[in-house]
């Protein structure tokens, strides 16, 4: 629980709570977005601004660490979904790039490189990967969070794996 934010509805209590929770929330958000600092800062800012809005509306008790993570998750989904829509207009996905990630196994050499590589996924792939592997949600839960079908989530995951392999072996997605 985020007691710092909910005990006393004063400005200082909110700021104290902010200071106490920022590192963990920022780390969580940064993981979700593959270490993209700028995007992580944006989402973190949006989350705390939502928090202070709730705080000012008299809902200080509701502001907990899970609440912050939930808000951050929704904001990430909204952002990536919007990016996905924009990119969809710019490029036609080459279906030939898609294959089954279970068929091939890539030797995993560099954890950091893999995290960085997730930044090059499509926005929807990033969202799926974040929810599936950072949040540890089931595919069904991921589908519910993104309002997609289970098969669509599975498709995004397979494409993400393919893209990551390509990035790690060739330096850029095909």
């Amino acid at each position: 629980m985020l007691s710092e934010l909910s005990d006393t509805p004063t400005e200082q209590s909110f700021i104290d709570g902010y200071r106490a929770t920022l590192p963990e929330l920022f780390g969580f958000v940064a993981r979700c977005v593959g270490g993209d600092r700028l995007l992580a800062e944006d989402l973190t800012s949006d989350t705390y601004l939502a928090a202070i809005t709730a705080w000012r509306d008299g809902n200080a008790d509701a502001i907990t660490q899970p609440w912050l993570r939930g808000v951050a998750r929704h904001k990430m989904i909204d952002r990536l979904r919007r990016l996905e829509r924009e990119q969809r207009k710019l490029a036609i996905i080459d279906a030939s790039n898609v294959d089954d990630h279970n068929d091939t196994s890539l030797a995993f050499a560099d954890r950091d490189a893999l995290v960085r590589a997730t930044q090059q996924l499509t926005p929807m792939q990033r969202a799926v990967v974040a929810l599936r592997y950072v949040e540890d949600l089931t595919i069904v839960d991921v589908a519910a969070a993104l309002e997609l079908s289970v098969s669509a989530v599975d498709s995004h995951l397979r494409r993400a794996h393919t893209a990551l392999r390509t990035i790690l072996t060739q330096g850029a997605p095909s």
Binding site: E11, F14, I15, Y18, R19, L22, P23, F26, G27, F28, A30, R31, G34, G35, R37, L38, A40, E41, D42, T44, S45, D46, Y48, L49, A50, I52, T53, W55, R56, H101, S105, L106, A107, F108, R111, D112, L114, V115, T118, V129, A130, Y133, V134, D136, H161, L164, R165, L168
Partner: protein, 359 residues
Amino acid sequence: MNDDDLRDALQHTPPLQTTPEFTAALEQQLRTTSTANVLEPSGVGTLNGATANATQLIDTHQVPMIEMTARNIGISRTKRRQFWTAAIASAACVALIVGVVANRNQNETAPAAGNPSGRGTVRFLAITTYGGKATNRLQGTLDFSHHIIRFAKRPDAIYAATVTETVVWNGALYSLVNTETVVVGGPIRNGDPKIASVTARSSQMQWVRIPLPNIEKRFRLAVGYEAQSPAIAVSELRRDETRAEHLDNRDHNGSEASHFRLRFPVPASATLNATGSTPIVVESMEYWLNRSGQVLEIDAQGPRNFRSSIVFSDYGKPNFLRPPAGYPIVERGPGTDNPHSTGTSVPAGATVTTSARKP
């Protein structure tokens, strides 16, 4: 690489640490929004030497929107609010100028300082894009009686500007400018225009004259001011190849040329500015007019695909006016770069030449 590899990498890589700058900046933002009902990023829009100082009164509900907009246009974090402010200032400036032009009554009663002769309100829609990436849509009304811009999404927020009166007359724009910054009080609630909450420092009011080459003739032709009928004016304009590149027509209702578009360069002094940010020079502007000469829309363009478009409606009066007497006139524009030079008073009905005065 399998699921476990990904999960392990994403969950166990040391998380990024926040930077002190980010932590402090966000904390400051949170402190501001927690202690005050409003944020007040102020911006200044300067158009043809006429300055509009738009003070934003926004609460935390708008901050995410501001941030989101700024992010989309790909500018740095530190510039985001400044850009947004500048965009609003631009919209406010242009909206005021055009709106007052379009709405002012033909009865040329000289306005008293701080009490412009503009009447009623006019609705507007301002769309601003930058870098071709983002679109801001601002919708609201201008209240000429009280120099107030009211945005549809924030009816309890008000914006004030120093440009209180602008007319198009004899080949030039004339803007009545208060050289002091307008100070705005608290937000207006419940749609009740509690003007008492607005305090404005009154100071010298002066007309700023901005020569616009050939604008008077174009305006007159476009609205049939001199021609026998609007149709003749249209045909005359179409025959003129030089003007043709500056002129287009719209046909909203199937009738011929019910709207016109005029484009003219603005002086180099036309900038869009915000505190601490790099000014954006407005490179060209377009006016859309109807047959009555009322300005329906104004578009301003600048570098990096900057574009600010303001659409007006609810017009009531033609806008061929002349500046009332009683205020000194200061010339601005090419060749005149001294904003504080004292001009001469012009009596109502007097002729003012269109040539710019050298400093």
